[in-house]
Each structure stands twice: as C-alpha cells, then as structure tokens.
Amino acid sequence: MLLASHYNYWIVIALMMIGLYMVIAQGNLVKKIIGLNIFQTSVFIFYISVGKVDGGGAPILTEGETLYSNPLPHVLILTAIVVGIATTALALALTIRIKRAYGSIEERDIQAAEDLQERTATQPQTQSPAGKEQ
C-alpha cells in the first residue's frame, strides 16, 4: 500500500542513490557529471511531488475549482534547475580544459599525473637536508 501510493518517492530515492553511486564510483569525469545530474534530477522530482495536493487541479482561478496543487515548490525547483544547468555547463567546461591539460578525462590517469608531478617537485627537497649538513 505504502509502496504503491508513494511510488514517486521510491523513484526519487532510487534515482538519488544511482546518481550518488555514479559520482563516487565512476572514474570518467563525464560519467561523474551525468551521475551528478541524475542526483540533482531526483531532487527536482522530489520537490515536484511535494507540491501535489490529492484531487487538486492546476493553480489557475477557474469556475468550480476550489482545490489547487501547491505551485510554490514548482517555482522553487525552476530556480534549482537553472542552477543545475549552470553547474553542468561549468563542469563540462572544466572537463574540456582538463582534457587539454592532462590528455585524459579518467580520474586514474589524472591522479597518476598529479603524483608524478608532486614527486618531481619534491625531488630538490629530498636533496636539501644533505646540502644543509655540508
């Protein structure tokens, strides 16, 4: 009963977990961004579900309509959708720059390049204690 009547919330939870899992588990940056999008979309669906009033119509003043759905969550989520698009655009722009700088969009390759850079940068430092003792 609970499962059937609140099916939209179950969808929200499933999407949220899928999205969050993708962000964490995927090594590919574009897949991470897709995961982030699914995660955010689940929240949009959640807000839209919240606004629904049982038996309520569209919130437009018409004859004979007395019960309306709550339009506020929908308006709120419009803002959040815009924010989500901005985030995706910025993330994709960063991915393009990362691809140019590192030659890869796999987290593993980037991390390997980072570690290599860090090791070469600390090289003079490992020599320095010897220099101090002289």
Binding site: L36, V50, P73, A80, V83, T87, L94, I98, E114, A121
Partner: protein, 495 residues
C-alpha cells in the same frame, strides 16, 4: 536610503559584477571593484551600528509580507559576519591589482573581478537573507563563481582541484536543498523565523530529523569540517593567491555562520544540542580535525597547502565552541571567526607577496628569507604567532575564551586538548621560522630574491597583521559585539 540597507548590501556587488565586463580595462575594473567593496563595507558598518543600537532589522523584499515574500533579517550575528566579510574583502582587494597583474593573463583579469564580485555578492546574500531557499540560491552563486575562480590558477592542478570541489560542493548544496524540501513538507514555510516557530512541536518527527541531517552534512561539506575537508587543501593551494586569501578569510566563515544559523535559530538549541547528541559529535569531530589537520600541515612542503590544512584545524576550534554550546563558548566561536579571518587574510596576502617575488611558496624557497624579505617574513611570523595563540595577538583572545568555556563546563580534557593542538601549530610555524632565519639562501637564487614584496601587497598584508595585534590588545569591539550576539543566539532560541 537607510531603510534599504539590507538589500543594498547584496544588490550592490551583484549589479556591479556584470558592469565589470563593460569597463574591460584591468586597472579601472580593479578600482571599480574596490569602490564597490568599500561601499559594501560602509553599508555593513551602518547595519552593524543600527542593529547594535536598536535590535534586529527586518526587510521585506518588494514589499511582500514576511512568511510569503522573502525577508532579509539582520540581527547581531549576521551583521557581525557581514562586517567581517566586507572588511576582509576590501583589504584583500587592495592587494589584488598587484598580484593579479602578475599571476593572471591580461585577458582573464576583467573576468577575475567579475567572478570575484559575484562570489562576494553570493556570500553576502547567504548571510543577509532570512529565507531558507534563498540561502541555497546564494550558496550556488558563490560556489559556482568560486569553482571558476579556483580554475583560474596557473598550474593545471587548479583545474583538477576546481573539478573536485565542484563535485563535492554540488553534493553539499543539493543535500541542503533536500533538507529544505523536507522542512517545507513538514511546515509549509521557508522563512527562517517562521520555521523556528513551527519546528519545536514537530521535533519528534523523523522527517524533521532527516531534514536536519541533510542540512547539517551539506553545510559541513561547505565548511570543510574534518572529515569532509578533502576539497579544501587542493583548492586553496592551486587557486590564484588573491583568491586563496579571499576564500580563506570569508568563505569558510560564511559556512560556519550557516551552521550557527540552522542549529541555533532555525532548529533551535533544544532540538540540536539537547534532543540530538550533536554537542558530542561537534566537539569530537572538531578536536580530531584540529589534531589530524595540524599534523598533516607539519609535513607539507607547499606553504599555501600547509596553511590550508591549518585552516581545517582552525575550523575545528570554532566547531568545538559550537559543541560546548554555552554563551562563552559561542562567543569564543564568533571571536575566532573574526580572528581567524584576520590571521589567514594577513598570512595568505603575505604569501601572495612571496609568490609575486619567487613564483611559488615551497619550503625550500623560504631559506634565508629573513634577510632578503624581512618585512614579508615578519608579517608571516606575527600571523603565525597569532595562529598559535600567543598573548597580545587575537589568536590568544579566542583560545582564552574557548578554554574558559571548556573549564566552566568542566570539560577538562577538551581544555587540555585545545592547548595541545596549539603546540602542533608551533611545530609548523617553527618550520617556516627555521627555514627563513636560520638557513642560508639556496645557492643561485640569492640575487633574484633580494627584493621585498611590492608595497601594493605588503601594505594590505601588514594592515591585517597589525589588526591581529591591535584587536589582541584592545579587545573591546569584538568582545562586546560577540557577547551580545551569542546571548542573542541562545536567548532567541530559548523563547
């Protein structure tokens, strides 16, 4: 005009940001941005005075009444944080021109100031607003511009750091959004004052608990509370120097403000600290954060990164203050909010001077700096002493209040651990002092490093460092304001 101060505080930088793109010429844009920041500072000073004299101000946006329209509500707490953010932004911006011309390509400088103002507007908006959903919107304005600002860093690692921060930051912000959604479901309102009135009867509800959990974790991600701090060291060490100084001095402070606002005003002290074991959690995480981050800081070769880890540790102290939850402890937190902004603002500006002259700030570049750059190095040492908590610096004042608060509640272990944590700060600051004053300059670089940091950076850095000493001796202003603010927070919550 005076009646519209709360909205002016936010709208001024928000409108100024796109205007920057029309001016285009780097020096002019800088002067314009600086003027805007000064104006914002003036507004925040007026607001602080007004709130201190007459109590909270409520501003209805567009004339719509409070629970339906968006309300900006300025009380002592956010007036104080607004003042900190605008003051530090103005000091950092004074140094921006010199540093930015050296670190960024000419075609990116105008964009830098635009992003800076957007971030500034976002931070001020988070603090000024009294509407929970508005908080999310401004949080995203400031976050998105921060990611772009970090990506402006010279090194390619800046891109990777920005991307990682974007992922973590977006998850954090979305968590806050989920939490606000749950609250709206239960209460049907988004106005913070309204929420505060409607939550207490519902405090047994699982939905409200879930809302609290989401909002708490989301804010802690933004705050970089240990163990959610992983984005911060990379972001701070790769961003352009001015961005690091600005973020370190303001962004974490605003996140801490949000934590205070939600735990004390919206959910109320009964719910957060008595109903939930949040006090134990905050004290525990705070102290572990102090020790873990300070220990890691000691082993960092990149000094910007070292101070970034030190920031994570200092956030630990502030959170311990919230966890103890008495008037004195909250006062310690609010004092440390101000003091840490002064310390890290001054330190990162001095590091900006170093980067200007040396092109980097690794520990081996510090050798012999005591002789070649005496003033810059002296600024770093005084800032470091303040970080440790030496008497006559601001660091001492906030640590003193924090320890007295712990002793008042007979949390002896906490008091001892706070002192021990400061000893770790001695270790990493000493590493710098040793390199700068007791080691000969690295061979070959001696001639190039003979110059002091340019005055354009050195003066603002010393202004903040001098403030560290001034407010360490004459503590009246911060102590009075924070005492009243913390009483207001706890008193307001008890009603």
């Amino acid at each position: 005009m005076l009646a519209h101060l709360p909205i002016l505080q936010v709208i001024l930088p928000l409108m100024a940001a796109p205007s920057c793109l029309l001016i285009r010429k780097s020096t002019l844009v800088w002067l314009f941005t600086l003027a805007v920041s000064f104006a914002a500072l003036a507004v925040s000073v007026l607001l602080l005075q007004q709130v201190y004299a007459t109590g909270p101000i409520s501003y209805q946006l567009g004339g719509w009444n409070a629970p339906w329209g968006i309300e900006y509500r300025i009380d002592l707490l956010n007036a104080w944080v607004l003042f900190i953010v605008t003051a530090l932004s103005t000091a950092v911006l004074t140094a921006a021109h010199t540093s930015v011309t050296r670190e960024l390509e000419p075609n990116r400088q105008t964009v830098f100031y635009t992003l800076y103002l957007l971030c500034f507007a976002g931070l001020l908006g988070i603090v000024a607003t009294g509407d929970a959903f508005n908080v999310f919107v401004f949080l995203e304005i400031s976050s998105l511009s921060t990611y772009a600002l970090i990506a402006l860093g010279k090194d390619r690692r800046a891109l990777w750091a920005a991307f990682q921060y974007l992922i973590m930051g977006t998850i954090g912000a979305t968590f806050i959004l989920i939490g606000i959604g749950f609250l709206y479901m239960m209460t049907g309102t988004l106005n913070m004052a309204d929420l505060a009135a409607r939550i207490p009867p519902l405090s047994e509800s699982t939905t409200v608990l879930t809302a609290f959990a989401f909002i708490f974790v989301g804010i802690c991600l933004k705050l970089a509370l240990f163990p959610l701090h992983l984005w911060l060291p990379n972001a701070y060490s790769c961003a352009p120097s001015i961005v690091t100084a600005f973020l370190a001095a303001t962004a974490t402070k605003v996140a801490l403000y949000l934590l205070l606002r939600f735990t004390f005003t919206v959910f109320g002290v009964d719910f957060s600290l008595s109903h939930l074991p949040l006090d134990t959690l905050l004290i525990g995480l705070g102290l572990v954060g102090v020790f873990a981050a300070s220990t890691v800081a000691i082993y960092q070769a990149n000094i910007k990164r070292m101070f970034a880890f030190s920031s994570v540790a200092q956030i630990g102290y502030m959170v311990v203050g919230i966890g103890i939850g008495t008037v004195t402890a909250l006062q310690a937190t609010l004092l440390h909010l101000f003091n840490h902004a002064l310390m890290k603002g001054g330190l990162f500006l001095a590091l900006a001077g170093l980067v200007y002259q040396l092109g980097g700030c690794r520990i081996e570049q510090f050798r012999g700096l005591g002789r070649t750059m005496p003033w810059t190095m002296a600024a770093i040492v005084v800032g470091g002493l303040s970080l440790i908590g030496m008497p006559l610096t601001v660091g001492f004042v906030s640590k003193w209040y924090l320890i007295s608060a712990a002793v008042e509640q007979q949390f002896w272990v906490v008091a001892v651990l706070v002192v021990l944590g400061s000893l770790l700060a001695v270790a990493y600051v000493w590493k710098l002092v040793e390199a700068a004053y007791f080691q000969a300059p690295a061979a070959g670089t001696e001639d190039e490093t003979k110059a002091e940091a340019p005055l354009g950076i050195l003066l603002p850095a010393w202004l903040l460092i001098a403030a560290n000493i001034y407010f360490g001796i004459d503590t009246r202003l911060p102590v009075e304001v924070t005492a009243a603010a913390s009483q207001f927070l706890l008193g307001g919550a008890a009603q």
